[in-house]
């Protein structure tokens, strides 16, 4: 199967997964108690006012009619408007995607940059001080909830280092420096547990690779130990790590939600929780669509990456 064909197949499959998710969500959120009209009118709204607003919002239509209306608009790229603010859903999503993705990406970068070298060092220096030190730190990483790390970071770093803000997000177009500073602590909070997981994986995977015959072959060729490790070992050791790294993206995204709240950053997580709390149906649907899109996309990227670093695999799996 060629790359293009494979991608096409994966995309079609993904579209169905997303459609399914979003359909479930569409009916699920409407079946839970809570009336957006009441929330808009401040809770103690008068019954007549409520009725009028519900009619205006089209909430009195039968569910399937609402569903197909929404779907039809979606096909034209129209995500609808937020019930609560009247703003286009797509705009809100674009707006919140920035901080969340920034944090998640930087968090992953931090995790990778730390986990991969330490994982390698730890496996090479097995049972030595470097190994004990880094496995201990990794253990701490996987034993703390991300948001708690965030809280501790605010306490320790944020309050003492003026240059690092403890709250809010600065978009990248206001300068790379301020942007980086604004997402540094949240990214560490997200990246640390993730890094711990990755480091442990990297270590065990590398240990396995170190025992492989081809590593002995490489040494028998007279290569330096660094070359043996990084030229011959690294890519092989990364193969299982990449697969699992993708799966753990879910963990990262879960962590980002709570971390966004700790740092007062309005990202996808806060938007999702807020929109559900407010029964802002179009916004919930839009957010879930985006989240599942990110998941599915990440899955495809991981698969491609996996195929790339593992020449034994053809597109679509199988050897």
């Amino acid at each position: 199967m060629g790359l293009r064909q494979y991608l096409l197949k994966r995309l079609v499959h993904s579209v169905f997964v997303m459609l399914f998710v979003v359909t479930v969500v569409f009916f699920a959120v409407r079946s839970i108690p809570g009336d957006p009209a009441r929330l808009m009118l401040g809770g103690d709204a008068d019954p007549e006012a409520l009725e009028a607003l519900r009619a205006e919002l089209g909430l009195n239509e039968p569910l399937y009619v609402q569903y197909f209306q929404w779907l039809r608009r979606l096909l034209t790229g129209d995500f609808g408007e937020s019930i609560r603010t009247g703003e286009p859903v797509l705009g809100s999503l674009v707006q919140v995607a920035g901080p969340t993705l920034s944090i998640a990406m930087l968090g992953m970068v931090i995790a990778l940059v730390i986990a991969i070298p330490t994982g390698i060092v730890s496996s090479v220096k097995r049972y030595e001080i470097e190994d004990y030190l880094s496995t201990t730190i990794a253990f701490f990483g996987i034993s703390m909830p991300a948001f708690w790390i965030g809280i501790v970071l605010i306490l320790v770093v944020g309050v003492n280092v003026d240059a690092i803000p403890t709250f809010g997000y600065t978009p990248i177009n206001e300068g790379v420096g301020p942007w980086l500073r604004s997402i540094l602590l949240p990214a560490i909070a997200v990246g640390f547990p993730y890094g711990g997981i990755l480091m442990r994986m990297m270590r065990s995977s590398m240990l396995e690779v170190l025992n492989e015959d081809y590593m002995r072959t490489a040494r028998a060729k007279g290569l330096t130990s660094n070359l043996v490790l990084f030229k011959h070992g690294l890519q092989n050791a990364l193969i299982p790590v990449v697969t699992l790294a993708g799966i753990f993206l879910a963990v990262v995204l879960g962590g980002v939600v709570a971390v966004e709240i700790v740092f007062g950053i309005r990202g996808i997580g806060r938007l999702l929780i807020g929109s559900i709390n407010r029964r802002d149906f179009p916004l919930i649907q839009g957010t879930v669509l985006i989240v599942s899109f990110v998941f599915v996309l990440a899955n495809i990227v991981v698969d491609l990456l996996y195929t790339m670093i593992n020449p034994r695999i053809k597109y679509g799996g199988g050897e």
Partner: protein, 586 residues
């Protein structure tokens, strides 16, 4: 109580003495009695109580003069849905639109009702209000603000069926506009009317520009007002940018034009702890609300000022007083859910239908302890319904110790439960429906009630489900409260009145306590313009209230606001955040 004459209610200013009577400046102004330290709160006096200390002159301004600069302010919410004053009912939004709009009247920083758009006003008789407007007022788009504009605004409200405030102008008979002269005729004397015309808590009298009719959604998002600041930009769920309106008509005593600040960048911060870290980290200069635990911490720092004021807020627990299925018609109307009332209580015992049980619960609660443990002292015990912001009534009923009222008496509570036949172990079990913000208070209540053998489970729900479920009446108890209530009408008419679709009385009944006699008394009070007479009616109302316990009041929260010490002149009366005269010391 001194009689308040009709002339006392006339412009250009209702003096402090009268306003105190009217609105309970004690609460509004923030000298809040039981609060830690009688001298207000802030560790450093300074402009801690800008209202009370009276800064200077009768409009109380900070000495800064015209020092242009911007400040950044944190708002404790995740979203500002509407800024159309006719739609707004939440304090957090009122606080913002008080900076964007003018009302006919306003509360100044010395807690006096003064003219806002109205330079002066008079009451030729009990049902006629004549206002004389300032000259040269314009909306942010340059349109003139004159009597015609005010008339349009009031008529728009009267004609709206989705506004929660339409009822406030329902007895306006006619409005006449002539240049700067505005005359409002009421169908009958209506006591709360003056307070309805206030900018801020009055809501109804806030002047809306006619573009609101063209595109209501857009207006609710980016309203055009006439206040010292205009909303120039907003990002949903994130921030609002308020810039000084250059042609704002108002000046300070020295003739400098207002406002001093160039603008305010409002950040929406939904988490109290985030607000606190933003304040500590210097990312914001002002926090519109700090929860008690952080206010306490803020007072410990040298660099922050805490100002507190009653925002006319009250909280408590509504007990289910009758089986919803006994009055299906009324319950269906109240709930607005389009559902038949629940039948789950048919044939079931509803313990709270027994007034003795309700009283037992009401007196098993130690309100002083709630204030201390749950609110860190930022509140006042609520022995009855009427909050300190309704000064004339609060004071008349006995200030902090109303008579009659609910006072902590666990022995008596157990006797009452014995009498009512609840002697088991536990005596009673109940679930209380609540919102996140009620959690601390109910945690204390839960422990207090368990002392008399009543076990309650706290069911914290998200706002959306909470609002629906309160009207499903499936729980015996429901945490409930109100805010920005500067007139008793705001606290009792819709909440405890006898349901009436026409007048919207009783539309918010949580307790399903239906008493026509009580309703008659409320009607009498509302049409009694003379405050002394009205207060007397309220004596009777209060007695009925305490006797029947349709509601178990717990606390009148005070809302601590925090300012960096360089910031002064913020008007926090009645829980507002008025930046008209705010300035930064360089």
């Amino acid at each position: 109580m001194d009689d308040i004459q009709r002339s006392d209610l006339e412009g250009p200013k209702i003096d402090r003495r009268t306003t105190v009577k009217l609105l309970g400046a004690a609460g509004i102004g923030g000298t809040a009695g039981c609060l830690g330290g009688g001298d207000g709160s802030g560790g450093d006096g300074g402009d801690g109580e800008s209202g009370d200390d009276g800064e200077s002159g009768d409009d109380g301004e900070s000495g800064g003069g015209a020092s242009g600069s911007r400040i950044s302010a944190g708002w404790l919410t995740d979203e500002i849905e509407f800024l159309d004053p006719h739609m707004v009912d939440l304090g957090i939004q009122i606080e913002i639109h008080s900076n964007l709009f003018n009302g006919l009247l306003k509360l100044n920083e010395d807690i006096e009702i003064v003219g806002d758009a109205a330079a002066d006003w008079s009451l030729p008789d009990d049902t006629t209000y004549e206002f004389e407007l300032h000259e040269g007022m314009t909306f942010h788009n340059g349109d003139t603000l004159d009597a015609e504009a005010v008339k349009w605004s009031l008529e728009r409200l009267a004609g709206m069926d989705t506004s929660p405030h339409a009822g406030k102008v329902s007895n306006v008979d006619s409005i006449e506009a002539d240049g700067l002269d505005l005359t409002i005729n009421l169908t009958e004397p209506y006591a709360p009317f003056v307070s309805f015309m206030l900018r801020g808590p009055g809501r109804a009298g806030t002047i809306v520009h006619e573009s609101a009719a063209d595109d209501p959604d857009e207006y609710a998002r980016m309203p055009i007002g006439s206040g010292p600041f205009e909303l120039t930009e907003r990002t949903a769920g994130e921030s609002l940018t308020l810039d000084a309106y250059d042609d704002y008509w108002e000046t300070d005593a020295d003739g400098n034009s207002l406002p001093y600040l160039d603008g305010i960048d409002i950040e929406l911060i939904p988490e109290p702890s985030t607000m606190w870290s933003a304040l500590q980290g210097g990312e914001i200069d002002y926090a519109n609300l700090l929860t008690g635990e952080f206010a306490q911490q803020a007072e410990g720092t040298g660099s922050l000022t805490v100002q507190t004021a009653s925002a006319g807020e009250w909280s408590g627990i509504a007990p289910l007083c009758s089986n919803p299925d006994d009055n299906p018609e009324m319950v269906r109307w109240i709930s607005g859910l389009g559902e038949e009332p629940t039948e789950m209580w048919n044939g079931e015992d509803i313990p709270t239908a027994d007034p003795r049980v309700r009283e037992a619960l009401a007196i098993a609660i130690d309100r002083e302890e709630i204030v201390e443990r749950a609110a860190f002292g930022y509140g006042q015990p609520a022995h009855t319904l009427y909050n300190p912001a309704i000064g004339w009534l609060y004071n008349e009923l006995g200030e902090g110790e109303p008579d009659p009222g609910f006072y902590y008496d666990p022995e008596r509570a157990e006797e009452l439960l014995d009498e009512a036949g609840y002697t088991g172990e536990p005596r009673l079990e109940a679930t209380v429906l609540a919102l996140t913000e009620d959690e601390r208070e109910l945690t204390v209540v839960q422990e207090q009630l368990s002392e008399i053998g009543v076990e309650i489970e706290i069911d914290i729900q998200q706002q959306s489900s909470y609002w629906d479920n309160t009207y499903r009446y499936e729980q015996l108890l429901c945490a409930y409260g109100g805010a920005s209530d500067v007139d008793p009408w705001m606290s009792d008419f819709k909440q405890f009145g006898y349901p009436n679709e026409e007048t919207t009385e009783g539309a918010w009944q949580r307790s399903l306590w239906f008493d026509e006699e009580y309703s008659d008394l409320l009607a009498e009070a509302n049409t009694t313009p003379n405050l002394e007479d009205r207060a007397e009616v309220y004596q009777d109302i209060n007695e009925m209230f305490v006797e029947n316990v349709p509601f178990i009041p717990t606390m009148f929260p005070l809302n601590p606001k925090a300012l960096v010490s360089e910031l002064g002149g913020v008007g926090t009366q009645a829980g507002l955040s008025n930046f008209h005269r705010a300035s930064l010391d360089e």
